[in-house]
Assembly symmetry: C5
Homo-oligomer: 321 residues x 5
Amino acid sequence: MIRSFLWTGSEVRRDLPLPALKEALESRRGLLWVDFEDPLPEEVALLGPDLFGFHPLSIENCIQAQSRPKLDDYEDYLYLVFHSWNRNEEGIRLEEVDFFLGKNFLVSYHVETRPSIAQVMAVLPADPRLVMGHGADLLLHQVIDRMVDRYTVVVDALDERVDLLEDEVLEHPSEGTLKSILSLKRDLQDLFRTVRHQRDVLNSLAREGHGVISKRGRTFFRDVYDNVVRMHDTVEGLRDEVAGARDAYISMVSNRMNEVMKGLSTVATIILPLTFVTGVYGMNFPEMPLLRHPAGFWVTCGIMLAVCTAMFLAFRRKGWV
Amino acid sequence: MIRSFLWTGSEVRRDLPLPALKEALESRRGLLWVDFEDPLPEEVALLGPDLFGFHPLSIENCIQAQSRPKLDDYEDYLYLVFHSWNRNEEGIRLEEVDFFLGKNFLVSYHVETRPSIAQVMAVLPADPRLVMGHGADLLLHQVIDRMVDRYTVVVDALDERVDLLEDEVLEHPSEGTLKSILSLKRDLQDLFRTVRHQRDVLNSLAREGHGVISKRGRTFFRDVYDNVVRMHDTVEGLRDEVAGARDAYISMVSNRMNEVMKGLSTVATIILPLTFVTGVYGMNFPEMPLLRHPAGFWVTCGIMLAVCTAMFLAFRRKGWV
Amino acid sequence: MIRSFLWTGSEVRRDLPLPALKEALESRRGLLWVDFEDPLPEEVALLGPDLFGFHPLSIENCIQAQSRPKLDDYEDYLYLVFHSWNRNEEGIRLEEVDFFLGKNFLVSYHVETRPSIAQVMAVLPADPRLVMGHGADLLLHQVIDRMVDRYTVVVDALDERVDLLEDEVLEHPSEGTLKSILSLKRDLQDLFRTVRHQRDVLNSLAREGHGVISKRGRTFFRDVYDNVVRMHDTVEGLRDEVAGARDAYISMVSNRMNEVMKGLSTVATIILPLTFVTGVYGMNFPEMPLLRHPAGFWVTCGIMLAVCTAMFLAFRRKGWV
Amino acid sequence: MIRSFLWTGSEVRRDLPLPALKEALESRRGLLWVDFEDPLPEEVALLGPDLFGFHPLSIENCIQAQSRPKLDDYEDYLYLVFHSWNRNEEGIRLEEVDFFLGKNFLVSYHVETRPSIAQVMAVLPADPRLVMGHGADLLLHQVIDRMVDRYTVVVDALDERVDLLEDEVLEHPSEGTLKSILSLKRDLQDLFRTVRHQRDVLNSLAREGHGVISKRGRTFFRDVYDNVVRMHDTVEGLRDEVAGARDAYISMVSNRMNEVMKGLSTVATIILPLTFVTGVYGMNFPEMPLLRHPAGFWVTCGIMLAVCTAMFLAFRRKGWV
Amino acid sequence: MIRSFLWTGSEVRRDLPLPALKEALESRRGLLWVDFEDPLPEEVALLGPDLFGFHPLSIENCIQAQSRPKLDDYEDYLYLVFHSWNRNEEGIRLEEVDFFLGKNFLVSYHVETRPSIAQVMAVLPADPRLVMGHGADLLLHQVIDRMVDRYTVVVDALDERVDLLEDEVLEHPSEGTLKSILSLKRDLQDLFRTVRHQRDVLNSLAREGHGVISKRGRTFFRDVYDNVVRMHDTVEGLRDEVAGARDAYISMVSNRMNEVMKGLSTVATIILPLTFVTGVYGMNFPEMPLLRHPAGFWVTCGIMLAVCTAMFLAFRRKGWV
């Protein structure tokens, strides 16, 4: 599906026919925004010689999807891949949007509906000048800014998962904890790599002198860049915390096992001397002290109780029990 | 609340009305310092077209707070975010101050009272020329220098915590020690990241040629930069020490558990041979050596004592006990 | 064996005799592609003064094989070493191809048949203009693009091996698992290093201004560069996962052993008190409670059952069993 | 205390009065060296407007001491902080010297006597032209070269400590070993950071074009730079060795504990089957094989010996004992 | 000992007297190679004003030996320190050679005989034009190329040691294995640092525009540079493998110990219930089931066998035995 918007300087016209698109593009006036959502093959053809005439490589990249965030400067336009993060019940999903940014046009390309683009389209009727009246680069900024804003939700959710995990590790570590740690670590490493590339892309938008981005636009992208850097720091911090949680987990599990072994050994070690005493009076010598004594049995029981108490106290003093 | 100070070249006038502020700003003479502390919305408006006319992005950044330390050059002014550290009973808190630095004005913006700004204001009446007579960049230096000085207290406190932790690890490690290590590690990693960004900001102030900073000002910022680098090194060193403490903790706990297990096993291993001896004389053979001997019991006790002593000596020689 | 192809601007002539090769090279028109596959010494001589006159160092490099990916600019030609990955039953094998790229010629050199080169040769008759009609650099791009495409198979296979390994680690770790982890880690580290060098080579092709590569060619190599960077990220991610698997393995094995020890100790610790009870009634005192009682034995058995149950419940409550 | 030396081109005059110092400084001829050792406040004043007129910031830095190695270029002079290492019974101590280097003067500032400066002063009377006849930068080189030479002693001592530690770890690790490792690690990390900064300072002296350093002087500083780089490598190597020693320690301690546990368990495991045999003949069945046999006891003892030997051999074959 | 060779453009003259050396040097024609092997003090003097007039610093460096690989550009000559590796029974030894490279001379300086220099001298009579006819830089290349070639032997030997070590770790780890790992790790770290510096030196020779190296020479040094980079990669890979072997060792030793403990515990745990049964019939109750039964003993033995088998099967099902 294709949606097109043309800002003529005073109003926005929507869903233009092909000839009108061509004319708008060639007039080099106004601002044309064409959004491709899961387009049909004949719609994709508009990216090529039919209308925009983009380089075949960038079109191919667009269609394949699954690229890392990147920015290619083709001089009369920028080709840009950017991701938003979305979080559903299956985990974190990267939502890719491809952009072609020219002096007087912006093309956005994506497979499924993207909330950030839908939002921009939603505010467009209310205040078209704000959205499209400041040039193609600021229109791109509006979309990307919203995409980056959506990170916060995901990062907050991850932060919460890390906090829960740390509690779980310190209170009741189980075998599942290790799986959680490993899976969280992997998620964070994936995000870290994506954010790193996004930071590079935004740095390039904000600082390198691309022809299609005005100086004013660079100021705005610098602001988004700062947001991504903060995200980068946060994800880096979460990674460190997960690594710490992993170490703590190993420590805790090993402690707990040792604790159990210690308890079991203690029981065994207190019983053994008692068994020895019974063994002594089990010997078949005709004469042993106390053997013939009427209270012999009770005295022996007393001795056993004393041994038991003594050992327990000795263990406690040494801090073993 | 807004506080304003105007250095006219000979004296400081305070709390000027809006028209006087406007005039001072436009005359491009003297030095105007406006401090915003938790301002009302109509006061915030002064940052925008009402008075200063700063870029909307930097104003928005100001209001949101919670930024990393950064520096944006808007050519006729610098926008600067800087943090001091404060330490209260809940831990370490970052105190953000935002600055706008122009040729003849400094705007400081913060939510709560900041001690470093209060201090500069306190010395201002005594020697206004020293504080405000050397240009906006040196006034900024006065504030930032005091903010950095306040680090020392926090870093010293952390240093002490690390020392205590190391003692605790080597003398009496407990389960709480691990929590302390993890929490200290997190604090240090957060600080490390902040200091890294602050170092970058100060490096930029001291070495890049920003228009609103004089050559003389750069010399002063270079000095603060050196302080922050020293802080950076110290925090890096503390991080290494905490990592070392963590390793030592794991080592100590594991040693201590092994020690306990060894002790318990030793007791068991000395008792078992004795039990064996009693078992021998518990057998129901009619004829066994010593069985009918009148002192049989005592000889057997002697044998058991000998076995016990021999095993103990053997263990000691092998270094097991 | 040598295969040669000459694009004259309208058609492709194959397997030219030496004089024709010489003439084609000197005319500086058309495009000549010569492919050396495990060549005879007299064929190798064509690389030297006999025909191409390449620098002796690059020829020597070619013949020795086993180089890292690299790119040497000899001004009138580029010498390039590039690898594809192949996966057979023995593991991953690097397949090296050496290239000499000039303005109007491409020389490819390899010991065994390389599928990527065979593929290009296979499509050549069908559409010679597409393959050879756009200059030597785009011909090189065609080959290298196919070489990089072949990575995907290998990387996918590795990805699968890593997934299997992670399952193995968490479900049924054995001693062989450690060997698998170490071998996989080594494979990934080798690949990582190769990809790193390949990335550098492609970066140089795509961004540095080598004389024999046209601006249009650079755009195409930039695309391959992006593929290799993605591969680089993937391999880096796999490395992280294998490191995580190793940690999990150590953790799992240690847990499992502890589990076993705990089980065995539990059995011992429940039996020991029972043995103590039997020891008590094995003592030869003439008078002990219950000894003469007709149901004495059964009462004692009851006591033993009670002790057994009590200990078991106590252990369970403490979470030891 | 202040010591001053003026090289007039033919001889050295010592301890000049203030007017002579002023004149020498202003004449811009000859070479003036003023050494401040724990100076009185009125002597410190010479650094300021009284004589040299250095920037207040550099003077403040000087007085505070405890700076990292650094170099500030104030155009007509360099301010330089450099450390030597000294080793006394309490450990390694950094000895800071601050320098101000101008075209025709060198100021050295330190709190206690510094051997490297004392040495240069000691050779001065013998050959004044060698020491002071080649300009201020080469005089500075003489002092710094001696400061760096003094490292060797400290690094050698550390090297020896590391060697001793490695032996201790592998032969008789004790709890104190861990403390030694941690303390050595901290020392090395501190040194590492200092050397890193010193390397940067010397790199700047040797390679950046500071106005007060001649090309000839840069050659000499490059030589010192190489020494510091070698030191840097050595300290890095020692750090790696200490990390290795730590790993080995943990490994050794854990092995030794396991060894003990194994020994104890073995004893227990050999005794238990014997106890079982005695238990069998302790049963009160009226009829058991061998029970009434005259040599029954001795046969049983033989059986026990056989069991004992068999188990021992089985354990040895499995490599458990 | 000094050996000198003068290429006059048509032949090589050997062992020239001092005046001839001087003349050759000053004529700035031909190529003079002087090799110093463990020279006498009066021979060393030739490096200074007597003949070559090198900078005192570089001569001092030469004599001290034990430098890291480095390159100092003194404009009319390069001073170069380079190492070959040699392997004898005591381990790996670095063999340093110092070079002074001028437009028309090469000075090589070393303490003991160096095989690479001996080889170049050996091929000199056969084909003097090849060795000395292409300028001083290519003569230096010949020597350095041979020095680098000698690495291969050492690296191969190390590779073999690492392979043996890995087998040892996985088949029969002993306490000596840990020592081997630590010593191998140290060797590799030393080599790694040397190779890193050598790579830098060769990079400088191949890429920076030193006056005394021709463009043609740079091509040749680039080739050696590639060899060293490959060596660098190999040593880095070996380091990773040794780190992996260390981890595997710790894992294996810990597994093996656990294995032993498990075995011993199993024996104990099977014997204990049997002992309990014997204890039961050792009790002195006048009436117990089976006690008076003629086959009582044999039934009891059967019960014990059944218990034994049941426990063994239970253990096996749980995977404990």
